[in-house]
Symmetry: C2
Subunit: 429 residues, 2 copies
């Protein structure tokens, strides 16, 4: 990869211009000040001669029955932060959001968060039990689930701890590490409502416990109102079977709510009349306040956004001139109505352009195009959701919630862009 | 994989029922005739004891920085038909649509069609030239393209020859082989319009030639009206870089039109005042009629649908009772307004349910749920698009176009479902 600030005419986006068809005839191209420095080359060996890659037949079909990315994209992978956890079995890695565009996250690079590694479940061995306050306690096989009416929805999944290090100031240098505990996929599954109606929830059944089949037996309490609203028992992501690390063969989808509740390798749903207060909703996944008390049941992921490029891992390579700022915005409450971008640390704001589907509880892609004069910038994005909630500053959050928590940090992120094009994670007052 | 018709209580969806919690107490579950045969087991060792897969920590994060499907899904791959072509360098394979759900096709299993293998292009070597009847002939690097405003759209890509063998009767046994030359992805790129405006199309520039950088130098003529409408110069599919076999780093997206025009490894766009009549739009990709004449420039993919499950590779495993029919519908003209399903070879039609985003020139997912009595079926689907066009029968197409073509077969597909649950490709009069 070329270093930022390399402006040589080396094919990485430098700004040199040569006349096309023998000289200055197209010097006019250089006059399009403020537009894209597309270069006119004469005579360009890439065009007039046979390109090296076109001299021989490359691999044919079936070279890879299940294909992989180009070797030139080997850097686009999930990464972890080694000092963050003691063991990879209970750890996290991060989606390379700084390299992606659009709103779909490919299955192979959706971040992972495991509490006891990945369970290996053969589909024919899979069972889902519904028990507790129901008329008919039941056990479903995977084939049973495939006989109920299905639905397809694109939803983001964000870990409650995404951006959690930022409570105590700018620490990790890269959107992948500060905001990469998120992905956005199309899920296919059966509405949880359908299964609960089939089992017959009793009148005092106001809560349920979702339990996973991994070695941690991950379990979370979910209010019945949410279960009957939009939860799904999902067996497909982005068209194909769930990936092992995402709960193969079946996971719970809890749209807009913190990722930990989307129980993977889902084996049991118990209906009860009160929350269970298990470990993952008491000692973990509660928000510790400055006075030692903790907020509990803060399930909803509030409106948030981040600029993914430029960002520390995605510097500006091309020097001054036309520049695209892009990023992601989302809300666990609904859609994103508006995203603003600031170039000066939040003093002035500009409307960003949302492009692509605007779907309920899904990532939204935004763009802001501007003509960079090469001076340092403090770039920020700010999301507003369909409920009118506006993404706050980090300091505004800290005022109410202190800095002891690692969860639910949705404050405005600041990247400092240097004249060289390099970018770093900073705090602004 | 279990054979169709296996109704044993072996976890593959058999219909046996046992009482839950010690006997006949929940025999009521067996009374839900016509509903899902979820089984109640007592005491189920899968639930009351530790499952084998939960006894040990599985792989942790970063076991696979770029993840792969479960080994249990190893059969969900692109496949070819060996006798179809002489060499894999100029050949085709097929998307396993019978195993997928929702509307997104994962990048790794998008079908391939190469005319001279896969070109290996390093991103820093990539160039796109625009020449011909323009004010400014130009050459863009990949970094140059990333400086223009981008858009994100989900589009299907269908090979003109998809289902082509069916002109001459039911031949290939499997939706993957009859209808699998299709995929549906979110593309991110620059509108072709933007680049053409940048180069300045001259008044007599009414056509363009799109040319690929592979060893076949694939080239197709495209009318300027389409180029300025919705074509894209795309560098991302489903969020990440294009896959090598899909044109890495840049391909042309020609929404709704035959896949051959979506030139991969796009290296040149020439603006002219007439079509070029190159090989791939004369001897190939024209529709030979019974009288020896050929239809040319039949770019648009007309409304079409297919039932993906049950289908020959996806038989009914569970025996009689609640059964889900699902499939795909699409139109190169717009959206799909309606899909009907027949169980009796087209005599009676039932409304199918479209679920998931209904997007312009994108796959739509439909479902039809019914209670199968175990008798043989002739299942069909029929799509109607937003222009009011109704998918015709194969015979209606043959009446006007003969059976000499291999392109643009969008007739209604029939699958025969046997009592055993096995399915085969048949023709109905």
């Amino acid at each position: 990869m070329t270093k930022p600030g390399d402006k040589a005419g080396d094919g990485t986006g430098g700004t040199s211009r040569r006349g096309f068809l023998g000289g200055a005839g197209l010097a006019g191209a250089g006059l399009i000040a403020g537009m894209v420095p597309a270069r006119a080359a004469s005579p360009d060996p890439m065009i007039t001669e046979v390109q090296p890659w076109a001299q021989f037949l490359g691999p044919g079909v079936d070279d890879a029955p299940y294909g992989k990315p180009s070797p030139h994209e080997a850097h686009v992978i999930r990464r972890n932060v080694e000092w963050l956890t003691a063991d990879t079995a209970s750890s996290v890695n991060f989606t390379p959001i700084h390299e992606l565009d659009g709103i779909i996250t490919p299955n192979g690079i959706c971040f992972e968060r495991h509490h006891a590694g990945v369970a290996d479940i053969a589909p024919q061995d899979y069972r889902l039990m519904i028990n507790g306050l129901v008329d008919r306690e039941m056990v479903f096989t995977l084939q049973d689930l495939l006989r109920f009416p299905r639905e397809n929805r694109i939803y983001f999944l964000e870990c409650a701890a995404n951006t959690g290090m930022e409570w105590r100031g700018a620490q990790l240098n890269g959107a992948q590490f500060t905001h990469g505990m998120i992905h956005n996929c199309m899920y296919t599954g059966v509405p949880l409502r359908t299964l609960l109606e089939h089992a017959g929830v009793q009148p005092n059944g106001t809560w349920l416990l979702a339990e996973g089949a991994d070695a941690s037996a991950m379990s979370r309490s979910i209010p019945m109102e949410k279960a009957l609203d939009d939860c799904m028992v999902a067996f497909r992501m982005n068209g194909e079977a769930l990936r092992p690390e995402q709960g193969y063969p079946v996971r719970l989808v809890v749209p807009g709510w913190e990722g930990n509740m989307w129980v993977k390798w889902l084996r049991r749903i118990e209906v009860g009349d009160a929350p269970w207060h298990h470990r993952e909703e008491t000692s973990k996944y509660t928000d510790l306040l400055a006075d030692g008390r903790a907020r509990r049941f803060t399930w909803e992921m509030h409106a948030k956004s981040v600029i993914t490029s430029p960002s520390p891992q995605a510097p500006i390579y091309h020097g001054r001139g036309p520049t695209v700022i892009t990023g992601l915005a989302w809300s666990g409450v609904g859609t994103i109505d508006r995203v603003d971008v600031s170039l000066d640390g939040g003093r002035n704001w500009h409307h960003a352009r949302i492009d692509g589907p605007s779907l309920d509880k899904s990532l939204h892609r935004f763009y802001y195009e501007f003509d960079w004069d090469g001076s340092p910038l403090l770039i920020q994005s700010r999301a507003m959701d369909s409920a009118g909630y506006v993404q706050p500053t980090k300091d505004a959050l800290r005022e109410f919630r202190g800095t002891a928590s690692i969860y639910h940090m949705n404050g405005i992120q600041t990247w400092q862009v240097h004249s060289s094009g390099e970018v770093e994670n900073v705090e602004v007052a």
